[in-house]
């Protein structure tokens, strides 16, 4: 029934496809023509030139005395020029009284404001949960670098109650950058423990020392982006870290203090990132070494909350003799309120050389005056700042910021510093969030500003630092960092600052004339 069927194929021609025609063609660029020509110099002439710095030229002209100077012409010139100049000098001296009034009116000390220039808050850090309820990261410490343009900020938390593994950060902000981003820092370093204190090297750029909650001291070398740890650690959190003047240029020396009463001087050889910070000296403040009037009972150690080494000024000619003594002198503030003068140069482990009258609460801030080498400022939680003379035990002045006088709450003072330009001005701030500038001559507040958080509530200021290179700026750290600009009146002292310097000298001399 079924058979195989095969059909033939059928096809049809396309009516749109055409046969493509091909043709080959070629082209060739013409030959590139080259010419060869040679030249040869026959008589060379040797000429050199060298720029010299003006200092070198001045020195060489001084050494060669009168090689470049045509003496008779110089004498002739001076004969003509001197009378003109002398006449003008005399006119100036006579009319000096005239200008003073105009100058004072024009540039008068009326600008005493403190204006907030920047509010810096790194969102990536502050939004992180620090692990402790209700408290995010806050600024524990800050430090300006040697150039005064960059601010190093330590983010951590002061609310640690027990041993904690809390991470923390050091952030850097460069204020000179045109697009300063207030919400993100320029460089960030993460550390495994809470950073309690940091300090930038006052002369060399690029070295930041930090003290951690775990008792370790770290050194951050910014150029190589390396972190160098100390070989041992304190038993308690590090409370204060300062750079010391190193005896040799190859080493860096750092002094750290902590609440276990230890003061350790660390030494590090520059350039050796593989070597940890080595302990150079280890000193302990013991209760037994303090005199009985301090009221310290028992033989335990006394925790240190702040320290400040004396900075010898190499340019001050009056200090050349006493500089030997001054090296290694450190003022230490303790958590029981004692204020001690210690020396890192003593050989036994008790560094105390002099004991001052104590505060009632822990001393959080100590600073030597930049204008008088014997005066220093301390501030403690009992809401007073004291000025001491380094050779006398009782304080010369006690200043109570107006806050306390008017009875506001939570007035502990956490930070105080001297003005870098006016000898008689100090700044103090604390728990109330108000930064006050006080004049030592009148013991009254000259100006103040309030630190408020983003929602307008005052927040406690943890640390402040003045900028030694840009004298009209200072920074305060609380929950975020505020950079403040001082008005003209607070930066420029009236009349060259001589009255203020005289006032400071007068205060210092009171110490010598009493009893």
């Amino acid at each position: 029934m079924f058979e195989d069927f095969s059909s033939e194929t059928t096809g049809f021609l396309s009516n749109w496809k055409t046969h493509k025609k091909l043709r080959e063609n070629g082209s060739q660029t013409s030959e590139i023509l080259t010419y060869e020509v040679q030249t040869q110099s026959r008589k060379p002439r040797h000429v050199e030139c060298q720029t010299e710095s003006m200092l070198d030229m001045m020195m060489s002209s001084q050494n060669n005395e009168n090689e470049n100077v045509d003496i008779p012409a110089l004498i002739q010139f001076l004969r003509i020029a001197e009378p003109i100049v002398s006449k003008q000098i005399k006119i100036n001296n006579l009319s000096s009284g005239l200008y003073r009034g105009i100058m004072k009116a024009k540039y008068g000390a009326s600008e005493n404001h403190i204006i907030c220039e920047h509010v810096l808050n790194d969102k990536s850090i502050s939004s992180q949960d620090s692990g402790i309820e209700d408290h995010g990261f806050e600024v524990t410490c800050l430090s300006w670098t040697s150039s005064g343009a960059t601010l190093a900020v330590a983010y951590g938390t002061n609310e640690n109650l027990a041993w904690s593994d809390q991470r923390s950060y050091i952030g850097l902000w460069n204020l000179d950058r045109s697009k300063i981003n207030p919400n993100a820092c320029d460089q960030k370093l993460e550390l495994e423990s809470c950073v309690q204190t940091i300090s930038c090297h006052p002369e060399l750029a690029g070295y930041i020392a930090a003290g951690l909650y775990s008792g370790l001291v770290v050194l951050w070398d910014l150029a190589k982006d390396e972190v160098i740890y100390s070989e041992t650690s304190h038993a308690d959190p590090v409370t204060c870290i300062c750079w010391m003047q190193s005896s040799s240029a190859k080493y860096l020396e750092v002094l750290s203090s902590s609440t276990d009463g230890d003061m350790i001087v660390w030494k590090w050889r520059k350039g050796k990132e593989t070597e940890p910070l080595k302990t150079e000296k280890h000193m302990k403040i013991r209760g037994a070494n303090l005199p009985r009037r301090v009221g310290m009972k028992g033989h335990g150690s006394v925790g240190i909350t702040s320290c400040c080494p004396m900075k010898g000024d190499p340019h001050d000619p009056t200090q050349t003799q006493t500089n030997v003594v001054a090296m290694g002198t450190v003022i230490v503030g303790c958590e029981n309120g004692s204020v001690l003068k210690c020396s890192t140069e003593v050989n036994d482990s008790n560094p105390i050389t002099f004991v001052y009258e104590s505060h009632v609460g822990p001393v959080y801030s100590v600073e030597w005056s930049p204008f008088h080498r014997h005066l220093f400022l301390t501030c403690a939680t009992e809401q007073v700042c004291r000025i001491y003379h380094s050779l006398q035990a009782s304080p010369l002045r006690e200043i109570r910021p107006e806050e306390a006088v008017s009875g506001r709450s939570s007035n502990y003072l956490y930070s105080a510093f001297w003005s870098t330009t006016r000898p008689a001005i100090i700044f103090a701030a604390g728990g109330s969030g108000r930064i006050e500038a006080c004049d030592l001559r009148t013991s009254r507040c000259v100006s103040f500003c309030d630190v408020t958080s983003a929602d307008g509530k005052p927040c406690s200021v943890n640390h402040m630092q003045s900028n030694s290179k840009r004298r009209n700026l200072f920074a305060s750290g609380s929950k975020s960092v505020h950079v403040w600009r001082l008005g003209e009146g607070l930066v420029e002292p009236a009349g060259n600052g001589q009255d203020e310097q005289a006032a400071i000298d007068g205060i210092a001399n009171e110490a010598m004339t009493e009893d």
Binding site: I80, A81, V85, N93, S96, N496
Partner: protein
């Protein structure tokens, strides 16, 4: 030689004079009563300023020339007596 030193001392002895510097026509200080770094700084800056001031005066009137330049600031006054080859810079603090 000593006349130069005498003249310098005489100017220095006036009230309020902080220092004097004598600069040659290349801007190199040849005599000074201040320390080296301050001298170098003043010499370079004041020399440039004097050249600019002189060229300003001469551009306005080519037959005119700069005779004396005083720069008064908050803290002191800088006086410059220019010459073809030298500059005498005096710094005075008049309010002392």
């Amino acid at each position: 030689m000593s006349e130069i030193e005498e003249t310098i001392k005489r100017i220095q002895s006036h009230k309020g004079v902080i220092g004097i510097i004598i600069v040659n026509n290349e801007g190199i200080p040849i005599r000074t009563t201040l320390d080296n770094s301050t001298t170098v700084q003043y010499a370079g800056l004041v020399h440039q300023l004097t050249m600019k001031a002189r060229s300003t005066v001469r551009d306005i009137d080519p037959q005119n020339d700069l005779t004396f330049l005083r720069l008064r600031s908050k803290k002191h006054e800088i006086m410059v007596a220019p010459d073809k080859d030298y500059l005498l810079i005096t710094i005075q603090n008049p309010s002392e």
